[in-house]
């Protein structure tokens, strides 16, 4: 199964800096296995959302050009220490994952 994400959220002045590390192969479907010459099947995150304090702040759709083990950074105004950050992703195989962190 998928490994946990790592979510960091820190108040910096009037906004919270949110960094998200996801554990995912982000396979493009174009790379070939050198042994069989067959392409590795595409396997990549297509969508994710970020909620802070119960409110949706970012929605995203992603393609195969996002690097393996994706890293994203966002800034959210009005978020305060203690707010819960929830990140969810879903990939093209229908797998999904949800992880949480707290704004510090």
């Amino acid at each position: 199964m998928s490994s946990p994400m790592k979510v960091r959220a820190q108040v910096k002045g009037d906004y919270a800096d949110i960094k998200i590390l996801m554990s995912h192969p982000m396979e493009t479907g174009q790379r070939k296995d050198p042994k069989t010459n067959q392409p590795y099947p595409a396997h990549f995150i297509q969508q994710f959302t970020v909620e802070v304090g119960g409110k949706l702040v970012v929605q995203s759709e992603t393609g195969t050009a996002i690097s393996t083990n994706p890293v994203f950074g966002f800034k959210v105004k009005g978020a305060k220490a203690g707010d819960k950050v929830v990140v969810k992703w879903q990939d093209n195989k229908g797998e999904s994952r949800t992880d949480e962190a707290t704004v510090s």
Binding site: T49, V58, E61, A65, I66, T68, V71, W89
Partner: protein
């Protein structure tokens, strides 16, 4: 999603509606992701077609849309790109790599205090223009771009 001319949920066109629904506990977490991935945009083979598929066929160059990326990427598999919009009421940002087989890399919608400022890491097969497109709440599109060189590597690290 706005920039992808998508609705997050059937019948709920604005992200605020979704947020409200989530806040009210009407949706299970997985449902928030139950939208269609914009296949047409992500499988478009050149940037004009991909931009068209996200509804951004005509976008004006803007200095207030800042795209930060290395002049030379140390590794094309991981190219850090920041996009930050100083254009008022920016609600969405999309990122394209012109020379990738599928140029559209990602699109983001911002709401509830999220600033139009995103950091991503991209795969680039070769030296190419990296392009950002921003959409404002009144439906206008702006663009900024930068060339990133992708070079042959050495042995170490």
């Amino acid at each position: 999603m706005d920039i992808l001319r998508r609705t997050v949920l059937k019948g709920a066109s604005a992200s605020g509606v979704l947020a409200a629904a989530l806040g009210a506990g009407l949706l299970k977490p997985t449902q928030a992701l139950a939208l269609d991935w914009n296949k047409a945009a992500f499988e478009a083979k050149d940037t004009p077609a991909a931009m068209k598929a996200v509804g951004a066929a005509s976008a004006a160059e803007s200095k207030d849309l800042k795209l930060t990326a290395p002049d030379i990427a140390e590794n094309g598999a991981v190219v850090p790109v920041d996009v930050s919009s100083g254009i008022a009421n920016t609600i969405s940002i999309a990122v394209f790599v012109d020379k990738n087989p599928y140029p559209l890399a990602a699109a983001f919608n911002f709401s509830n205090g999220a600033m139009a400022d995103v950091a991503v890491r991209l795969k680039m097969g070769q030296t190419s223009i990296v392009r950002a497109v921003a959409k404002t709440s009144d439906g206008k599109f702006y663009t900024a771009s930068k060339e990133v060189k992708v070079t042959a590597g050495g042995c170490g690290g």
